[in-house]
């Protein structure tokens, strides 16, 4: 006897979602994808991708990558230290709650107000700039060659949302380190250093690496903060794309779309790597 399955229309329930996604996400991204393979006459071409190596585009990407790398590794390192300090450093437990809540705020405090806050701190008239000059006669610009409106300046500002993000994401991983593991290693005669070197760090490595990669993406896609800070004088990928949106400054729309695709490719690699590492770390940290 053959049982015929009734045709189901259950999928209809998710149609509104996909329709919206196509309109607000699929079409715009699709437009960029197709445009990146077209020349000015609308013919199929790969020239746009070849042209990514021309003009200031490589510099924009390299600057973006450099800033992201520095803030991801630096933010990851110091963020880890801070998370370690509040979770395992023997500090009062209210400090932990305070730091975690503050991290939630700080990781969301970005863009225009963040850039402005640093202008008031390290800008030409900033509090710290003035303090150093009035107290020690030290001029950041003249004596140290430092200006906030530079790559280093952008990095210092980005740390403000990179640190706390690291703290938030790495905290559960640190929490996942079991007491038994340390006790076991101590019973076997391991020192604190040996415990970290051979037990804790290997378990945490996928989490740390994964989070740093996420921080990389977080800074790679940032636009508002850097733009507000430098007014576009530092060439980074998002700012170059912004100029292309305002007007076809590259004199080739397809090249602009190819740039956008370049960023999407970098982000895809970032997210894939993050996902993979996160899966690996979950094996240990699942309780």
């Amino acid at each position: 006897m053959r049982v015929r399955r009734r045709p189901t229309f259950a999928w209809v329930g998710v149609v509104p979602f996909f329709l919206f996604a196509i309109a607000a996400l699929g079409l715009p991204v699709g437009f960029l994808v197709i445009g990146s393979f077209q020349n000015a006459d609308g013919d199929l071409t790969l020239q746009n991708f070849a042209d990514l190596s021309t003009g200031t585009i490589p510099r924009a990407f390299l600057n973006s990558i450099e800033i992201s790398l520095v803030t991801a590794v630096g933010g990851g390192f110091f963020g880890f230290l801070l998370a370690w300090a509040v979770i395992m450093g023997g500090l009062p437990s209210w400090i932990r709650s305070a730091v975690m809540t503050f991290s939630g705020v700080a990781s969301n405090f970005a863009g225009v107000p963040l850039a402005l806050a640093f202008v008031f701190t390290l800008g030409n008239l900033g509090l710290v700039t003035k303090f150093l000059f009035d107290t020690f006669g030290l001029s950041l610009r003249q004596d140290l060659g430092f200006t906030l409106y530079s790559k280093t300046g952008i990095e210092i500002v980005y740390f403000y949302f990179q640190f706390p993000l690291m703290v938030l994401i790495i905290a559960p991983a640190l929490d996942g380190l079991r007491r038994e593991w340390r006790e076991a290693s101590e019973n076997l005669g391991a020192s604190a250093f040996q415990y970290w070197r051979h037990v804790a760090l290997p378990i945490l490595t996928p989490s740390i690496l994964g989070t740093m990669i996420l921080l990389f993406g977080n800074s790679f896609g940032a636009q508002a903060t850097a733009f507000q800070l430098t007014g576009g004088t530092i060439e980074i990928a998002t700012i170059a794309i912004g100029r292309q949106i305002r007007g076809d400054v590259l004199h080739n729309p397809g090249l602009g779309y190819a740039m956008a695709m370049g960023m999407v490719v970098v982000m895809s690699v970032v997210i894939t790597a993050y996902t993979w590492l996160q899966r690996r770390s979950e094996r240990w940290l699942r309780s």
Partner: protein, 288 residues
């Protein structure tokens, strides 16, 4: 960590990490305290100095409260706040209207579409805001869909793009909320009492998701409020972030006051989320 959000990435962390788990390291260690204090103090200095500087800057004019009274008397300030609040609220409701039925339906009827839905909701992590708005402007400023010519059309584009940005957080919040309740039994009970789908979602599912929805909503609120990139390319000069940026170019002390107010509003949103006690405070898209 409750409930499984499988598939692409666990970008938000749902664990209640405020309290150390019993048996975890946090309970035990008392050594290394000094080093921990030094690290903590260094961190506190880095995070507080810019805030103190901004506050000090905002008090530089005479009388000291001048920057604040100027800002509060500026109709553009209240106008931009009102605009951003309105946009945030519409975004939240639009996002809920799309995500809640979808997540519910995926759990109940079409679990095999879960990966696809989840993949779409996570797209904002792969597509930076500046690129999303790039595509949106190119598609919706030319025939057949001309949206950018009118104020209303541009506002609609802004909300639609923000809804996309909210997807990762909304979907995760709602899905985690759904995992915590017995969706199937609740639905069947409601059905046997004669409720239709809209009634089930509004009267049965939504009330059970209250905390999850609130945390998703306030996170969205925080993202929308400070967002600059998308709004500025869509020429939405009333958006709070764009207003602050323009103010920063034209005035000396007022921007400091408004920056602090903006920080305060972010605090408020995050404290509400912390009080609700559930949900992620981790965001990686939006106002960077």
């Amino acid at each position: 960590m409750s409930g499984g959000v499988q598939g692409l990435g666990r970008l938000g962390i749902m664990a209640s990490w405020l309290k150390p788990r019993p048996g975890s390291e946090g309970h035990r260690r008392r050594r290394g305290s000094l080093v921990a204090w030094v690290i903590l103090i260094a961190g506190v200095v880095y995070f507080l100095v810019p805030l103190v500087a901004t506050f000090q800057f905002s008090l530089r004019p005479t009388p000291t409260t001048l920057a604040y009274t100027n800002v509060l008397n500026d109709p553009k300030f209240s106008g931009s706040l009102l605009y951003s609040f309105t946009v945030a609220i519409i975004t939240i409701f639009a996002s809920l209207a799309i995500i809640v039925p979808t997540a519910f339906w995926v759990r109940l009827k079409v679990p095999h579409l879960r990966t696809a839905v989840e993949f779409v909701t996570l797209m904002p992590f792969i597509i930076p805001a500046v690129i999303l708005v790039f595509g949106v402007i190119r598609v919706y400023s030319a025939k057949p869909f001309v949206f950018t010519r009118t104020e209303f059309g541009s506002d609609a584009l802004l909300v639609a793009t923000y809804v996309v940005l909210s997807f990762p957080y909304m979907y995760r919040a709602v899905d985690t909320g759904l995992a915590a309740i017995d969706v199937r039994s609740l639905t069947e009970a409601a059905q046997s009492l004669g409720a239709g789908w809209p009634r089930i979602i509004v009267r049965v599912i939504l009330p059970n998701l209250r905390t999850a929805l609130l945390s998703g909503a306030f996170l969205t609120f925080a993202i929308v409020l400070g967002e600059y990139t998308i709004a500025s390319f869509l020429a939405r000069n009333d958006q709070f972030g764009v207003y602050l940026s323009l103010l920063g170019q034209n005035k000396a002390f007022e921007p400091a006051a408004v920056s602090l107010i903006s920080f305060g509003l972010t605090w408020l949103a995050m404290i509400v989320i912390a009080l609700i006690g559930r949900g992620s405070r981790v965001t990686v898209v939006g106002a960077r």
